[in-house]
Subunit: 202 residues, 2 copies
């Protein structure tokens, strides 16, 4: 049982999943056929079915991979800067042009999570992580404004998700100025603060 084989197998799986992600983002789950995935991955149906038992299994594995990547992206915003800057870093993900495919993929997942128990639980877990990370950031801001930190985190998450929906359908739209208004509302509570700079521009 050579170790190389296990590593290669995992590599092939990843190749298939990334190919699937591109197609799913563009076409959705039901509209993407196994043959689409095969072509995108450069493999034959027989090969693909060696690694996954069914299309459903591909969708589940890929949702899991997407959740991991999302968690990794959140960690990038955990540096030790002031809250507004960290929040800005976190939300400025949306300005990257490559983000459009991720946004489209996310939107497809959310829609599918309505009726797919597996995707729903992945969504719930991923969302809980998001709220937790935003809670850390929101805490000092919420304290200043006298609002519940958890609810402020939920509000920021709603803005982020709403912006993702827009970017998914209109990739050319620029949501940063909109997020700038959110910063303005958060920063303007008390102009003189003790937890770092708080500009309102985007």
């Amino acid at each position: 049982m050579p170790k190389i084989s296990e590593a290669r197998k995992s590599e092939r799986k990843r190749q298939i999943l990334l190919a699937s992600a591109r197609r799913f983002a563009r076409q959705g789950f039901a509209e993407t056929t196994i043959l689409d995935i095969c072509r995108e991955a450069g493999l034959s149906p027989g090969a693909v079915y060696t690694y996954f038992d069914s299309k459903e299994a591909i969708i589940a594995a890929m949702a899991e991979l997407g959740a991991q990547q999302s968690a990794a992206r959140m960690d990038a915003a955990r540096s030790g800067l002031d809250p507004l800057t960290r929040l800005r870093m976190f939300l400025s993900e949306f300005s990257r042009p490559e983000a459009a495919q991720v946004n489209q993929y996310d939107l497809r997942i959310w829609a599918e999570a309505i009726g797919n128990a597996g995707l729903r639980s992945i969504y719930l877990r991923s969302r809980a992580q998001l709220i937790e990370a935003l809670g850390d950031i929101a805490q000092p801001l919420a304290a200043r404004r006298g609002v519940d930190p958890g609810l402020l985190a939920e509000l920021i998450a709603a803005v982020a998700i709403g912006s993702e929906v827009r970017k998914a359908i209109e990739p050319e739209a620029d949501v940063l100025p909109v997020l700038g208004v959110l910063f303005a509302l958060l920063a303007s509570g008390r102009p003189t603060t003790d937890d770092g700079p708080a500009q309102a521009d985007a």
Copy 2:
């Protein structure tokens, strides 16, 4: 060419569209078969195809109907009260338990609008109406805070859409407290105002 016939025909179409809407919200477009729609509407395939040429035609007609209903819902919030109360009326749509199906339907439409030109243009038109209506409401609030009214309307729309996504997947979630934080941020600019009451509670 009797007028009754025309009215009956329109009535049947509506019956089919409402049946489709229920299925589409629950299962999505691709996963809903023509037979599902037939069963839900209590009609046979032959009858359904008398009124619509294809499944695609049903989807298009139903998206149009949904956009009309959405516009009607927005008009309900156009009464002459103070902006925060009108905004609260508008957003409190989300607290109605029956709203879950509408939220699910909307989320399905958004996901499908990524790759369907027809749905995309309906989305864009519907969204423009939403921003316009919110602009009216947001104007006095934006003036007080010194932010661009159009961008504030976009921000409120993002919160609304983000909340709809959540309600679609978690119908039992209560988003009103989250929206309450938005009200708090909007209302707390200047505690003493001249355009009506501005409580921050939900």
